[in-house]
Amino acid sequence: MDEFLKEIMPNVVAYSKRFWQSISQTGEMMLWSGLISLAIGLMLGVLLTISKKGGIRQNGIVYQLVNILVNVFRSIPFVILLIFLIPFTRIVAGTAIGVKGALVPLVFGCVPFYTRQVEAALASVDPGKVEAARAMGSGTLGLIFRVYLKEAVPDLIRVTTITLISLIGLTTMAGAVGAGGIGSFAINYGQNQNHQDIVNVCVILLLVFVSLLQLLGNSLARRTTNRALISRGIRAAEEPPKEI
């Protein structure tokens, strides 16, 4: 087995320690920036939805503030954002380099995108449902959690998948501030040292990673859509409610 691997990708094997390290760095960046971005993006998306004109808590100032911030940060290319945010990152994270230094720009790069996606997902919730819930006496929190977020679950899963995939793209650029990861491994040890096998392996690795995410996202989205419940048959209709 070792012989075979050495045969097809000698440089990956030679730099295997660096290779595994880069995978763990990418994983680390994905995990933390992903969690933080999803939490903030979800909040801002909800904020945009409820504060916009005709929303359940209409507020022009809040809406415009979030709206402009999102637009500004969405229009800055990520590589520029990375270096632009260095002073700010130092204050927040204590350092501007390494995985820790990359988290702040990753969050800034990812949140605006996710916010818009969440806003679009929530916009697909039928306003009639919101009105019915208001008529039943639900307040702002009830409307957010019991109607908007609950009814939009399949759409939210879909946009979260898209966002995480684009976040993988962003992490490969984080090498610019020395955060490592698969992207910088491919550039520094592959491209720069003319080791084509390293580049190839990195591409395949990312491809597999993205495909797995997409697969997982699709299946979750499908399972949470009520259409799927129909295809599972009338049995669902005949089962007694689990509540009891």
Partner: protein, 357 residues
Amino acid sequence: MIEISHISKTFTSRENTVDAVRDVSLQVREGEIFGVIGNSGAGKSTLVRCLNLLEIPDSGEMRVAGRRIALRGGRAYFDGSSRPAGEKQLGQLRRSMGMIFQHFNLLDRSTVFDNIAYPLRYTGMNRTDISSRVMELLRLVGLTDKAGAYPSQLSGGQKQRVAIARALAGSPKILLSDEATSALDPDATESILNLLRTLNEELGLTIVLITHEMAVIKAIAHRVAVMENGLVVEEGDVYDVFANPQQDITRRFVASATALSRVDKLLREDSPLVQVKPGEMLLRLTFSRESVGDAAISAISRDYGVSVNIVLASVEALRDDTLGGLIAVFQGRPDQLEGAVSWLEENRIKVEVLRRG
């Protein structure tokens, strides 16, 4: 039960302002089915949303659910309070009324059970009580076997039944119905109207029913208000409004719900059926509660020597009453015709001359 006085609501956007509801005063009595009819854009949907303060009127006053509510500047002040009502108070008021909608507005990702349980959750009610209440409601609307189904597995009529069960979950005394049958086929419409009527009669539920179809009013309402351009232009017992509509718009609505309106089409097309020769008159006779059943036609032909040629005739069922209509060509000498007409009028039959030969 519900009393609103001088309620107005204006919507302003950059392009224009719409006076959706203009100075409307109404009274809905306990235990009645009160219909509001109007064309789209007449303001009836806004009016019903004002009743549970989904839309807060700009001005006016209302008494509802035992509260006196003053409305100023798009805010509601409860029971003489100087502070506008907050989310909590508004929520409480809304919970005292149920509401159903044209497009049902059920939560698609929740089962029938969970949809009906929605208004009961987070109210301090425990799971067992919620569950038995939901089952009771499912029995009430005849869907006990659908508790675990999702809305997408139900027909339109079944969805509306679930919506009705959900609206009644908190045992409100008032049900607001916004075009609840407009998206349903005729059979489902009939079954939903029957259900509403049963709820009204057996639970004493007061129902405010918004519709653009006179047939709905005719089938179940006790009283009706007709809206046009944000104003209530006519109001009264359904029977009286049908028997004696005052406004043009009301006449059009009434005509839309009776077979006799076909004569207007015949008149427009100048059909041979409605041609009159000299010495003939085309009349519309309306038989009301007191006169239906009398042998009027045989009486006038016998006593006045007038011959009557019936073009159209119908008897309308209004809730539990009937209202008859007849379109006929009367033939005879002028004095005979005059005598017949005055006899009819004496017998409380409304006579309209449509054409004179």
